[in-house]
């Protein structure tokens, strides 16, 4: 899933300052699952903001809506009325949702981000999420025992652990696992360590963000 984290209240407050009628727009997909921008988080932020404005003696109207998802036109369109009625939409979706609501609603509608979109990751345990993929566009997991060195090695190395790998930890921080240690262990367990003897040549970064914004087109699915 795409993992997000709510921005500090102060930042949200500052960006909402000019507006009197706010629609907080949650998203029912990834950010609901990672408890950053689903219905409940919309409720919490709305309640917090209402109390804040009350304290400040400001008249601000706050609406709450949570869509099935913000990255599909058909889920946004039924709510356009409410969106148009607001001065501003505070989207609690990932950066994709923030942009797409704006795209669908049109340029008059201001959509602001309530979250910092962090990464593509997993729910490791309650209250803990961790990065697993960086969407590099050319997956190498087949060569790395299913552990991603692009997203999980601090240097995106492709030819094994650097000289800073120590006791299974990455040089950047003892809290961070060294991805290459994990790859090594798994290959060893599978009796496939010889895979690491091969030199992996320089990666083609064209399919990644370095190649510019990307698009996927499936002709068979197009209408």
């Amino acid at each position: 899933m795409i993992v997000g984290e709510r921005k500090p209240l102060e930042e949200i407050r500052a960006m909402l300052d000019p507006y009197r009628k706010i629609l907080i727009l949650g998203c029912g997909e990834c950010v609901s699952v990672c408890m950053a921008g689903g219905e409940k988080e919309v409720g919490i932020l709305a309640s917090q903001l209402r109390m804040l404005y009350k304290r400040q003696g400001r008249e601000v109207e706050i609406g709450e809506v949570t869509l099935i998802r913000q990255c599909d036109r058909e889920y946004i369109e039924p709510h356009l009325d409410k969106i148009y009625q607001a001065d501003v939409v505070l989207s609690m979706a990932c950066g994709v949702g923030v942009q797409f609501v704006g795209e669908v609603a049109g340029e008059e509608v201001i959509v602001l981000p309530a979250l910092n979109t962090k990464f593509y990751g997993v729910n490791l345990e309650a209250g803990m999420w961790a990065e697993r993929c960086a969407g590099c566009g050319d997956c190498v997991l087949d060569k790395t025992a299913g552990i991603c060195p692009i997203a999980r090695c601090a240097k995106r190395l492709l030819n094994g652990p650097c000289g800073g790998s120590q006791g299974g930890r990455c040089e950047i921080n003892p809290e961070v696992e060294c991805a290459w240690q994990l790859i090594h262990e798994r290959l060893k367990a599978r009796g496939q360590l010889e895979l690491l003897e091969e030199i992996v040549p320089a990666k083609n970064w064209k399919p990644s963000l370095s190649g510019g914004p990307r698009k996927v087109i499936r002709e068979d699915l197009r209408l």
């Binding site: 409720g43 309640s47 917090q48 109390m51 804040l52 009350k54 304290r55």
Partner: protein, 144 residues
């Protein structure tokens, strides 16, 4: 504000707090009449949003009473509640409402005296903090 009588929402665990309250009641112990009581099956059911809503809707404080740690009927519901209380306090502090208006206590089973003491303690605490800043804001608005 000398005669300020706080409104406190009490979110009480069915297994301990309410049993304690029963005992206290039967023992005719007296306690401050400031509590609006909500019965929960376990404090683990209490969400951050419930706490915020209570405050938003006019409470001066929220009092949560659960079982002693390690004695939760649902094993760790009360531990979760403690963490949520911490989080709710942080959210309140962020908007300038004293997080300490939300308190959570443990009672070891049906101990009526302890229950009565907690109510008194909480009532005193909120009295010393004064009315919720939300009410003050509203009042100042009226005065202005």
């Amino acid at each position: 504000m000398g005669n300020f009588e706080p409104k406190i929402v009490g979110m009480f665990c069915h297994y301990c707090a309410l049993a304690a309250q029963d005992v206290a009641g039967k023992g005719r112990m007296s306690f401050a009449p400031n509590i609006r009581e909500v019965r929960v099956l376990c404090t683990g059911k209490i969400d951050v949003l419930h706490i915020l809503k209570a405050m938003e809707d006019g409470a001066d404080g929220v009092l949560i009473i659960g079982c002693k740690l390690g004695e939760c009927y649902f094993r760790e519901g009360n531990m979760r509640a403690f963490k949520r209380v911490d989080y709710a306090r942080k959210l309140l502090d962020e908007i300038g409402i004293e997080g300490e208006r939300v308190q959570m206590y443990e009672v070891p089973g049906p101990m009526g005296k302890r229950f009565a003491d907690i109510i008194t303690e909480m009532t005193e605490k909120i009295k010393s903090l004064g009315p919720s800043p939300l009410k003050k804001a509203a009042q100042e608005e009226l005065m202005a």
